[in-house]
Amino acid sequence: MAITKTVRDAQQACEGVQDGMTLMLGGFGLCGIPEHSIAELQRLGVKDLVCISNNAGVDDFGLGRLLQGRQIRKMISSYVGENDEFERQMLSGELEVDLIPQGSLAERCRAGGAGIPAFFTPAGYGTEVAEGKEVREFDGKPHILETALTADFAFVKAWKGDAAGNLVYKATARNFNPMMAMAGRITVAEVEHLVPVGELDPNEIHTPGIFVQRIFEGANFEKRIEQRTVRPAQS
């Protein structure tokens, strides 16, 4: 019989998050971010966080909200533009930033969830990313050794989910969410639609429920668009 992971809301989902913890947060830019969990983390006021997330949000949305309250001690990301407060804290030395190649970030999260402690990748060889890392040639090409990432809590956002924690993402809102779901000691999923167990086609589930410890349906997702680009309707 399916294992029930449902919690009431973001507040219950975030129980146990403490100062100094390492968190993973899904999303690419503002697309597919766990916005309700972030709002709750802001409300909780937990501090000294290490946040692993591809980006850092904008000033007033996404992880920018936690930056406002100086809740983040260190960001592990691949790209962190679009955020003035981030820039200020980084340049002043208040915020530690570890920039890593996007593909290595994704693979390191997957590795963390998959019990692979380290792997070789060509990305970053010959750059400052490789400093202090083991280099080894395979087929005559140099690679660097990268290690797995895990987190105390992973916060992900999906389109649909069920009480067993099975998740389905929509379009490019999938991005980092599946790997981070795998790598969290406790993984919290917020979904737009919580559907009855058995309604999701078992062929079409992106994240098997085994990777998810808590799930809740968020109300009124804002889903802000960062760069609205359009073409005129053709006549």
Partner: protein
């Protein structure tokens, strides 16, 4: 001298039927506009889509459907979505035939610098390091000189590197150049641009063949 759109147009000529192509932010993005109708080419965006289409018609934007530049986009028939690990599996595993990206500096040995200027705010490398470390076929699209008029084609990069010995071809507002044997090899001149102008704007070792045809755009 080429406009940014001309650079994109010239790069589009490099694209072959059956290729998967990753376009970086800026000039590279424009390349998609110059692919001939009916050519079987699919655009990959590293945030998780193959078969990227044009911007959406006004009013149909979907917050869940963006490209790596965080712009709203559309999906073509036959498109597919995937996670970031799978996306970089495609890139690292050499399933993408062509990567086009911008650069601050390129060296005569194929090094590229495009992510960090010491003393300035560093935004990060995004997927660029994975792309340049893995793609078999990397074309850099950029202006030949920077805003101060200094050459961006150098004997060695002065900025922190994004990748080593990886760039195969550079298309600038002045010329098409191939990189091999530690030198830039002049392939084509932009319309109206002389070999001398290109020589003057190129700090790295430049090899000029007897014949340097003008680009056909």
């Amino acid at each position: 001298m080429l406009t940014k759109n001309d650079i994109a147009k010239r790069i589009a000529q490099e694209v072959q039927d059956g290729w998967y192509v990753n376009l970086g932010i800026g000039i590279p993005t424009l390349v998609a506009n110059y692919i001939p109708d009916g050519m079987e080419v699919e655009f990959q965006s590293e945030n998780g889509i193959l078969g990227m289409g044009p911007f959406p018609v006004e009013g149909t934007e979907d917050a869940d459907l963006i490209n790596a530049g965080k712009q709203t986009i559309t999906a073509m028939p036959g498109a597919v979505y995937f996670d970031s690990a799978t996306s970089f599996a495609m890139i690292r595993g050499r399933h993408v035939q062509l990567t086009v990206l911008g650069a601050m500096e390129v060296s005569a040995t194929g090094d590229i610098a495009n992510w960090k200027i010491p003393g300035h705010m560093v935004k990060g490398m995004g997927g660029a390091m994975d792309l340049v470390a893995s793609a078999e076929n990397i074309i850099v699209a950029m202006m030949h000189t920077n805003k101060r008029g200094d050459s961006k084609l150098l004997p060695a990069c002065s900025l922190p590197l994004t990748g080593v010995g990886c760039v195969r071809r550079v298309v600038t507002n002045l010329a098409v150049l191939d990189i091999r044997d530690g030198a830039f090899h002049l392939v084509e001149r932009a319309p109206g641009v002389s070999v001398e102008e290109i020589q003057q704007a190129t700090a790295g070792s430049l090899v000029v063949p007897d014949q340097v045809p003008e680009m056909a755009l």
